[in-house]
């Protein structure tokens, strides 16, 4: 089971690095239209930043930032964003995931609406991939045995 490391250098470097990793991950997701990148790549980088936090700061602190329950909710909500955009296109009167019709509510030309629809879908994919990567690593590193909150307090006391 992962716990807080004793090495102050590792903790300090991780604390400095993690915001930059997350900003870079968001850049990779948002700039996927014009450069190599997209939802899958950015989601994996974002998940790696949370995994780095879990490795360096231990299970208890990491659960305060990103618990396994939150990861489950995020992974489902990313998929919901994806299929929700598809359903929105269906409601507006075109085919499933045919973003051109989003121009009715976005007030842009259909090509631009497609671009924005792609962006929304990529954000959904990124959220799902981030949460699933964290969730898988969390389960494997702890072996699936999650201590209850009261028990942690008892251990410390």
């Amino acid at each position: 089971m992962t716990r807080l490391t004793d090495d102050i250098i590792i903790r300090a470097v991780a604390r400095i690095m993690i915001p930059f990793i997350q900003i870079y991950a968001l850049y990779v997701i948002m700039h996927g239209h014009h450069s190599p990148g997209g939802g899958f790549q950015g989601g994996v980088i974002l998940g790696a930043s949370f995994i780095l936090y879990l490795i360096t700061h231990g299970l208890e602190e990491a659960r305060a930032r990103m618990s396994e329950l939150k990861a489950g909710i995020f992974s489902a909500s990313g998929l919901l964003i994806y299929s929700g955009i598809g359903l929105l296109c269906l409601i507006l009167g075109s085919n499933f995931l045919d973003y051109g019709r989003l121009s009715l509510i976005l007030k842009v030309i259909p090509a631009q609406a497609r671009s924005l629809g792609i962006l929304g879908v990529e954000i959904g994919v990124g959220i799902t991939v981030m949460a699933v990567m964290f969730s898988i690593f969390f389960d494997i590193s702890t072996g699936g045995i999650i201590p209850e909150d009261e028990e942690i307090k008892e251990e410390n006391g």
Partner: protein, 103 residues
């Protein structure tokens, strides 16, 4: 036994190498994968989707349904990891009985 294994692997590899005679040459612009539908994606992506990166537009727009399926596969993998491993045991019991090497 080991000889048989190596023989199996080598024979399979040789059959596959024999099969590469009919594969397209490396870097051939007229190879089958790059002829039918991929030039259309490249030519129309900027006009139809206002997205210069053809990989992104094919991923999320032209083949969006495929990507929805792949995302579902990833989600299912995460859920099955949870279902296989996760147990909410009381930590005390685990410490006393089966987990003497406390982390």
């Amino acid at each position: 036994m080991r000889v048989l294994l190596i023989l199996t692997v080598v024979v399979t590899g040789l059959i596959l190498i024999y099969g590469t005679q009919d594969m397209p040459d490396w870097g051939d612009p007229n190879s089958p994968p790059s002829t039918h539908v991929s030039p259309r994606y490249l030519e129309k992506t900027l006009a139809e989707t206002a997205t210069p990166n053809a990989v992104t537009s094919v991923l999320a727009d032209y083949r969006g349904y495929d990507t929805l399926g792949e995302t579902t596969v990833i989600f299912t993998a995460g859920v099955s990891c949870i279902l296989i491993l996760r147990t909410r045991k009381k930590q005390k019991k685990v410490d006393q009985n089966s987990n003497p090497d406390k982390t």
